[in-house]
């Protein structure tokens, strides 16, 4: 259903737009955080990693602000139908994006702990996984802005790739740990990093479902490519 024309009350339009802008802003920050965290991991940039951890506070603040705005909008504007779904979706998405930011923070926190990690082969896979995950987040937020249910659905499909990456890294790291016990510590950290990235992918899928519901009023029937773990 298109949100064709604006509300008779222009202030209502402005309120909704501001709310959605907040989400976009949060998304941008989260995307950037993940990218930065991976870069710091690869380049062992400890200061960079520290900055990411500090910047996470901004994301938290934005989430609080979003929640406040959403509650106010519901109380004062009594949104219906598409508007109501939009607001609820924005509220839920802000929470999910905040968690994505937390994952980025978690990755950044491990950077100082990974001193001699260069030799571990799976490390080369992680950036690619991160790229896909970040792209998913980016695309799903674009879909949110455009209220594009189709695009959201397509994002869900890509989670398969992220999950496959994770499976592969998991096996590789396990093998590596079994062969090189002295690297267990480092490898475990990398495992956690991979897990975080996999969770980011899942969260992007969650966002996609919310976007789909907000746009169409229906729930996505089957999550594509979901296989039980």
């Amino acid at each position: 259903m298109q949100q064709a024309s604006g509300h008779t009350l222009k202030a209502f339009d402005e309120d909704i737009e501001r709310l959605r802008a907040l989400i976009s802003q949060m998304g941008g920050l989260a995307e950037h955080a993940i990218g930065e965290a991976m870069r710091c991991l690869v380049q062992r940039d400890i200061e960079g990693a520290d900055k990411i951890v500090q910047d996470d506070k901004k994301l938290d603040a934005l989430e609080v602000e979003t929640e406040r705005r959403a509650v106010q909008l519901i109380a004062l504007r009594a949104p219906m139908a598409g508007d109501l779904r939009d607001v609820i979706a924005a509220l839920k998405i802000s929470g999910v994006v905040e968690r994505i930011g937390d994952y980025a923070k978690s990755i950044a926190k491990r950077v100082p702990l990974l001193e001699n990690v260069g030799k571990i082969e799976p490390l080369s896979l992680l950036p690619e996984m991160a790229r896909i995950a970040t792209e998913m987040v980016h695309d799903v937020l674009d879909a949110f802005v455009e209220r594009d249910a189709e695009a959201a659905y397509r994002v869900c499909q890509r989670d398969v790739a992220v999950d496959d990456f994770y499976d592969s890294i998991f096996r590789t790291l396990l093998t590596h740990m079994m062969e090189n016990p002295h690297t267990i510590g480092q490898a475990t950290h990398l495992l956690f990093v991979a897990k975080n990235l996999e969770r980011v992918g899942d969260h992007a899928t969650n966002i996609a479902e919310m976007v789909y519901y907000a746009a169409t009023g229906e729930h996505m029937a089957d999550r594509p490519g979901k296989s039980p773990r």
């Binding site: 259903m1 298109q2 949100q3 064709a4 024309s5 604006g6 509300h7 008779t8 009350l9 209502f12 009594a78 949104p79 219906m80 139908a81 598409g82 508007d83 109501l84 779904r85 896979l125 690619e128 896909i132 249910a149 189709e150 659905y153 397509r154 499909q157 890509r158 398969v160 790739a161 496959d164 990456f165 499976d167 592969s168 096996r171 009023g217 229906e218 996505m220 029937a221 089957d222 594509p224 490519g225």
Partner: protein
């Protein structure tokens, strides 16, 4: 008025391929689905968009007998057509709300249900309206009896300028519903109780009905309508002249009355329609645009016009 198509979401971009090693892994595991399945076609339509001529959706309220049934009803005021081919059903045990912008014909339609349009000389009603299967537009139908079976409450409370007792007793008296004074008093008492007014007026039944507050007057009008034991109660914007507390009391009353009578309510206030009704019909420019469960109309309407109206994008 097309049914909105539920578009199958087909993927148009291929799944991005991981690096070679992963691909080898994946291959070893087995064929992964490169084409995700189509999302299942939406659940059985629980609501039809617009009820076409003389056929009604099977899904909604299937198997229930309609209390009142309107089939292709059109109303003309002289040359001007106020209602076009409206077909709808009103059920027992359900409150049906009619919403829509000013002048869309909802009040006109409501007045067709108890033939109050007969009092307007230039009005002409076409189509068929049934109450329990009987055609009420036929000349055989006794209008007086019809109006006792289908009661009406108006926008501005209009109690008779008589005592409270007389207001409620008038209907039963003229229809001969009671055979003795004590029986009449019993009817008055039970009607006032059911309207939630008894406690407030039981000591002053001889006072004039017009001395009550607005909300009480409206409840008195409801008691008056109930006293003749109707089967359907029509309400034409009953709360538009009342303050929020009185409105809430009337809404609670509607909720209590629901089990006993079929209720149809016209309202300008969408929140009220959402609070009070189980079925909602949206009228626009004389046409019935959409009809369905209230919960769905207000969370996910099918018609763009409905969406525009309830989200405040209309006009």
């Amino acid at each position: 008025m097309d049914m909105k198509q539920k578009m199958p979401i087909t993927p148009t971009t291929p799944v991005p391929t991981p690096s070679v090693a992963i691909a080898a892994e994946a291959h070893a595991r087995g064929p992964s689905t490169t084409e995700p399945p189509l999302p299942a076609e939406s659940e059985a339509p629980s609501v039809a968009v617009e009820v076409p001529a003389a056929t009604f959706p099977e899904g909604l309220d299937a198997g229930r007998e309609a209390k009142m049934c309107a089939d292709r009803v059109s109303v003309f005021y002289g040359e001007k057509q106020a209602l076009k081919d409206v077909s709808i059903r009103i059920y027992d045990d359900r409150v049906t709300a009619f919403i829509g912008p000013s002048g869309c014909g909802k009040s006109t339609f409501l007045r067709c249900l108890n033939r109050m349009n007969d009092t307007i000389p230039s009005a002409r009603v076409e189509g068929r309206i049934e109450l329990d299967g009987e055609d009420i537009t036929s000349p055989d139908m006794d209008v007086v009896q019809l109006r006792a079976r289908v009661g009406m409450v108006f926008q501005k409370p209009n109690p008779f300028p008589k005592s409270i007792f007389e207001n409620v007793a008038y209907g039963p008296r003229i229809h001969g519903l009671s055979s003795s004074k004590s029986e009449l008093e019993g009817i008055v008492e039970s009607s006032l109780k059911r309207a939630g007014l008894w406690d407030e007026v039981k000591d002053r039944l001889q006072e004039s009905g017009t001395a009550l507050s607005g909300g009480q007057q409206q409840r008195l009008c409801i008691a008056r309508a109930i006293a003749v034991e109707p089967e359907v109660i029509l309400m034409d914007e009953p709360c538009s002249a009342l303050d929020p507390i009185a409105t809430a009391k009337i809404e609670e009353l509607i909720h209590e009355l629901r089990g006993r009578y079929a209720i149809a309510i016209v309202t300008h206030n969408m929140q009220q329609a959402a609070r009070v009704s189980q079925r909602t019909a949206f009228f626009h420019l004389g046409e019935l645009v959409e009809y369905g469960k209230t919960s769905e109309i207000f969370t996910n309407p099918r018609e763009q016009r409905t969406q525009d109206y309830i989200t405040g994008r209309y006009g």
